[in-house]
Structures are given as C-alpha cells and as structure tokens.
Amino acid sequence: MPDSQQQKKHTIVALVQNQPGVLMRVANMFRRRNFNIDSLSVGRTHREDVSRMTIVIDNTRANAYKVMSNLLKLIPIIDVADVSADLHVSRDLALVKVRSNDAESRNALTLLCEKFPARIVDIGPDVVIVEITAQEEIVEAFIAEADQIGIVEMVRTGVVAMGRGVRILDVPDEEEALEMSANGHRV
C-alpha cells in the first residue's frame, strides 16, 4: 500500500428508526454522493423501534466525516459514530461451501478449521459448508486458504461492530438531544 493512512478503513455504526424505507434512504445517499462502501449490514437492536447499521468504508478521515454528516442529514438516522476511531470489537461471518470430494481436500479442510475460528456446519458427499466468525482480516485470510482447496459458493454478512467499554451509542433523551444540537458539531 502506498500510503496506509489513505487506505485506512472506517467502521461507522448508525442507529436508525426502525421504519420502512430507511435502508433505501441510506443506500440512495451513498449512491448519490458517490461514496464507495465496503459493506453494510443492518439488524435489530434490543429496542423494538431502533435498528442498527454497520457501514465499512475504505477512505480517509475526512471522508468518514462526509459519510457521517450526510447520514445524519437523513431524518430517520438517530445517531452515528466512527467506532474504528477507538478501541472496538468487530466481527464478520462467512458461510463458505468448499469442495471436499477426496481425502486430500477433506484433510486440508480439517486442518484449516483447526487453524482458524471456523467450523464445519454441513457435510455432504462432495461439498461441506464451513462457518467462520472473526475479524474481517481473519475471514479474508481463511477465504484465501479455503480457495486453494476450492470454494464453490460463499456468503458473508458484512462487518458488525461495537465500541469497547462504556462508550454507548444510544437514543438520546430530550435533554441530551438539545445538548447535542447546541454543541455546534453533530459529528
């Protein structure tokens, strides 16, 4: 890489109101603003009315600001944070269907699953499905090696992430919301 700073990935999480069309609004904004995203995953939270998105972008610090400030312009976005700016935990899950139609490939797969946090979740006569849940880089490394054996099908969830410790991304109550807007910068 010519410049590691240039290539740095940012993991942005967004709390969104759980209502129809929110994903479309976010996806449309990325397309319209010409922001390239690595992955986007959406899921529910412990609050029924709130969903959470994890968005990985491959960009500089300034562009992370652009992404976040444009996300915040969308009305149903409640709050955003760049969790990669500080200590955080991130996980990517992949289901990888790998050729296993001879002794050699089966042996190689067993070794691979010992080396990585991966396990075989379905076994057939010709192929097996391996599940791996790990940091993105580890998943990438696993995939590279599994491909030596022969990947025939694959699906990934995209990264989900959470800041460590007591930094909690939550829906602000009225008082907090006032303070956030009084503070000049929302991002």
């Binding site: 109101q17 129809p20 449309n28 444009n70 009305i75 602000p172 807007s181 000049g184 910068h185 929302r186």
Partner: protein, 572 residues
C-alpha cells in the same frame, strides 16, 4: 377540543389550517379527488390556486416561500401529477426552499400493482426532498403533516413530500388535533458554536489584514442579515455576495463589493483570490462560485458558518468550520469583534471596482441597439431598486444579478442551484401572493418563458398583477454564449422562434408592449405601473441584441482570477 368524525382529507386540511397555510397551488386528479372534494369547506381559510402545470405549482409555492420565509404548499394527483412536480421539488431542494408537497396516491390495496396513474413518488423524490412520507395508516397522517412542516422550515430548509393513498383520504375516524410532541429523535439541527470555535474564529477575524465576508442565502433564511452587517461594519470588512445572497446586505452599502463567481464582479473575484481571510456565511462554495478549487483563494484562512454540517469541508477545506445557526453563532461572535478600518485593503478593492466601471457596457452609447444590460439597469432605475424580481436561468439572470442591485433581503428570487428554465413567471406569481403590496417583476428570457408561459392564464384567473419582462434575443442566450466562446460559434439548436408575445398577451387579456429602443424603457415601466391596482399581469417584450455577451466570465473550471473581461473602450 372534542373528537370529531373526519375523513383523511379533512384531517389533512385541518392540519394545514393549523400550520397557518393560506394558499395551496395545485391541480386536481383522480387520486387526490377526495381532498379536492373537501376543499370548498375550507374556502374561508385556504385559497387554492389552479395552475396550468404541476411544475409551476411547486415553483409558485417556492416563490411564495422565498419571498415570505413561510412554508409554501403545493398539491397534485398521483402518477403524472406527481412526476410533473419533480423539477419544482428539485429546484426547491437545491436552493433550500421550504415547501410541502401533497400528492394523492392510488388506494393502498392496489399499491404495487401498476394501477392506473400509479407512480412510486416517494421513491422518485427521495434524493430531491429533505424528507418524504408515504402515509399507510390514517392514524399517522396528522403527524406526517406536522413533521413535514417542521422539517421543511427548520434547520437547513427544504422540500418535504407527503404521499397519501386515496382510500386514506376517504377513510373516516374519530379525530382531534394531536398535541403530543413530534417524535424525531434523530433530527437535531445544530445551533451554537463551541467556545473553542468562537475563540479561533475571533482570532482569525481580529488578526486579518485582508478579510472578506462571503454572504449567502443562509443569512436571509436565518434572519441574521443585521448581525452580518454589524460584523462587517465594526471591523470594516468588505462583503461579496452569492447570487442567492443578493439582498443579504443593501447593495448600495459602501462595504458591498458585488456578486462573486462565474459572472460575478471582477473586484469580488480578485478580492477572494487576494484575501487572507474568507468568512463564509450561509453559502456552500458551489462550483459556480469557486471556479477551479485547486487555485481558489490560495492565501486565505477560511471560516465557514453554515447550518448544514455536511457543507463544512465539502468543497473547500476550512480552518474553522462551524455547523450552527447563523444568528446564534454571529451573536456569539459579535462581542469579540474588534474595530478595524482595513483602509489599505479597501483601497485595493476600490481600484478593481473602478477598472470594472471603465469596462462597463452600461456607460456606452450603443445607438439603436438595445442591450439586455440596459433593459435591466433601466428597470432597476425606474423601479427605484425596490421591486421583488424573479428570474429563470441564463443571460437575463446574470444581467439581473449584475444590473439590479437589491436593497432588501428576500427580494431576489432565482433558481440558483438547479438553474431551472421556466422558474421566473410561476415564482413571481407565488411571491406576489405572499407580498401583495410589493411590485413584482418576472425577468425572463424568451426560452425559459415559453416553458411555463401557460401560467399567464393562472395569473389572469387569480387577478395577480405581476410584470413579465421578456428579454427576447431570439437565442438560448447563455448556451449561445458558450457556443461562441468554446465551440467556435457553432450555434447548434440555440436560435429560437418565438410567437408574437404581444399578441399572445392580448389573447389572455393581458396588457402588453413591445420595446425596441432604450428610450422606451421608462415609459414601459410607467405603463406596467399604471395597472398596479387593476389586478392583471402586464407583459413587456424587450427585443434586444441577439449576440450580447455577459462579462466578466470565469469559464467553467478555470481559475477564479482568470476572467474573460470586456475590454476597455481605449483597448477596443
């Protein structure tokens, strides 16, 4: 108030009344019919104006909003009615104008079946609205309307669309006006600057030797023109205006040095390039303002204050970026601003202004040839510079910007960001509804005028006195200018036939006059003013030189200081 049995349409109209809506610009059709059925019951409170094309309904709501600062409302049916609004919505979006658009939608049971006149209008308008709603439950309708108005008018204003299926308009429920607070946990427009930002900004302002204020539309929308003027006067900082910033400071004020950008005053552009501090207030460093970003104001530090955080560092990197409400932030800054004179800097700018004066075509005798610049200049002179003007986009728009200095905020209404032809006439009609006691002029070109010309009928039907000044050069003038400068005078599809505009006016019952000589302009203005109390529009056709150029000009993407200038007489 006790609950009453009301239909969705009545709930909608009750909510509009509650929001203080006086006017709706719209056009009926199948999917919005229940609402039009309920409208006569509200006739004493809401006046509906029947337009001739839905695009104009959005422009009229926009013109009303820009002239008054209130939210403008337009209404259309599903399908083609809604898609016709699109250009008007995009125009309002680009210029941050608060409008609410109500559209009818096909009944819920047939949504998604490609029913007659069905269009996914919330999908279509998603990137050109600040927010939009498809109401799928009548119990959500009132909150959708309340939120729409709140979102449209607050923060960085913009258009909001509410799409209402026909069966919801017909459905009846026991209803009373909701008093619960709106649930918008993620909508928090920024307000104040942090103390740190105030300190940094003041340090730059008080230490600058060659500061310049860039005044934008945001100053007027936030109601902070007085604060900006105070800032300029205390520290004697010259002020350059954006196109939509015209009127943010009186243009005859000694500190105002003119418009900036592609067709801005040369002095403004030179000052931007030479400044050591830019103080950008409620503007967004549009490419028409900056020219080549790489060479833009290379020696200056920059303070940018704007309500929209995503505008900070978007195009131009700044030293102090403050996302906040201009009125609040300027109020924070003012006590710390030190008195200054900047006499040397102002002297330099005055020299540039004098040089521009020597080049100005307005001071030349062109004999029998009538120029667009002369027309606008003389309209300005004979209306005392007090009129509200609206424009389309193109040469006449830039000439208006150059030759009609405005004294008051919100008196120049133009499609700046989207550059929409056909905006001028409907925007003028909308503005006149909002400001009935003011003189309103639509300054348009022969091309743009023909795009929304049918709205002459709307003006006549409504008894609206606006003056339409057509600057007729028989060309799509600005495109022709680009063809002359950058395409070897290859006038591909820019010469344009027009009908006899005076006869067209007569057909509508509109008094009209054709002007071909500069000596007639004063009389034409008097002619228009003589109809002031007669509730009819007036049409003035100015037949001008075909191949007039608008100078100065920064070619697209060129350095801001590399303007194509009009030569001085001595150089010609």
């Amino acid at each position: 108030m006790a609950k009453r049995l009301l239909s969705g349409s009545e709930i909608l109209l009750e909510c509009l009344v509650e929001q203080g809506v006086q006017y709706i610009w719209g056009y009926p059709g199948g999917a919005i019919l229940p609402t039009y059925d309920a409208l006569p019951k509200y006739r004493d409170r809401i006046h509906h104006i029947l337009v001739r094309h839905e695009q104009s309904a959005a422009h009229m709501a926009d013109g009303y909003a820009r002239a008054t600062g209130k939210v403008g409302v337009c209404m259309a049916t599903s399908g083609p009615g809604a898609t016709n609004l699109v250009t008007g919505i995009a125009t309002a979006m680009m210029d941050s104008s608060p409008i609410v658009c109500i559209t009818g939608q096909v009944p819920r049971p047939v949504i998604g079946t490609d029913a007659f006149q069905e269009t996914d209008v919330t999908g279509i308008t998603l990137p050109i609205t600040k927010h939009n709603y498809l109401v799928m439950d009548i119990h959500d309708l009132a909150d959708a309307i309340r939120e729409a108005f709140y979102i449209a008018a607050s923060g960085r204003p913009g258009p909001v669309l509410v799409d209402i299926p026909k069966d919801i308009q017909n459905q009846k429920i026991e209803w009373e006006y909701p008093t619960t607070p709106l649930k918008l946990p993620g909508y928090r427009p920024p307000k104040m600057a942090t103390q740190e930002q105030v300190t940094e900004a003041l340090k730059l302002i008080n230490e600058a030797k060659k500061p310049l204020i860039l005044a934008g539309h945001g100053l007027m929308m936030s109601g902070s023109t007085n604060e900006a003027r105070e800032l300029a006067e205390i520290a004697q900082i010259p002020v350059a205006l954006t196109l939509l910033g015209k009127g943010a400071m009186p243009e005859d004020h000694p500190l105002v040095i003119g418009m900036m950008g592609m067709h801005g005053a040369a002095a403004s552009n030179y000052a931007i390039q030479d400044a050591d501090l830019l103080i950008a207030l409620g503007m967004r460093f549009d490419d028409r303002v900056t020219g080549n970003l790489k060479t833009y104001s290379p020696n200056s530090k920059k303070i940018h204050i704007d309500i929209d955080p995503s505008e900070i560092n978007k195009n131009v990197k700044v030293e102090v970026g403050i996302a906040g409400d201009l009125k609040a932030v300027l109020t924070q800054l003012l006590p710390g601003v030190e008195q200054n004179s900047h006499a040397e800097w102002m002297g330099k700018i005055r020299d540039w202004m004098e040089d521009s004066d020597e080049r100005d075509i307005i001071h030349r005798d062109t004999g029998n040839i009538l120029l667009g610049a002369q027309v606008i200049n003389d309209i300005w002179k004979h209306t005392g510079g007090e009129a509200i003007t609206t424009t389309d986009v193109g040469q006449h728009q830039m000439l208006e910007a150059q030759y009609y200095p405005h004294k008051r905020p919100l008196t120049m209404i133009s499609s700046g960001g989207l550059g929409t032809m056909g905006f001028g006439l409907p925007a003028a009609i909308g503005a006149k509804f909002g400001k009935p006691d003011e003189e309103v002029w639509a300054i348009v070109g022969d091309g743009g005028f023909q795009m929304t010309m049918p709205e002459l009928a709307t003006a006549v039907q409504e008894g609206i006195h606006v003056t339409i000044a057509i600057i007729n050069n028989g060309f799509l003038g600005m495109v022709r200018q680009w063809q002359e400068l950058f395409h070897d005078k290859n006038y591909s599809e820019t010469p344009m036939f027009s009908p006899d505009f005076v006869k067209i006016a007569e057909a509508y019952g509109i008094p009209a006059m054709r002007i071909t000589n500069r000596s007639q302009i004063e009389g034409a203005v008097a002619f228009s003013r003589s109809y002031k109390d007669s509730r009819v529009p007036v049409l003035l056709e100015f037949v001008v030189e075909k191949e007039e150029m608008v100078y100065p000009m920064v070619p697209a993407g060129a350095n801001l200081h590399d303007m194509v200038r009009r030569p001085k007489v001595s150089e010609e």
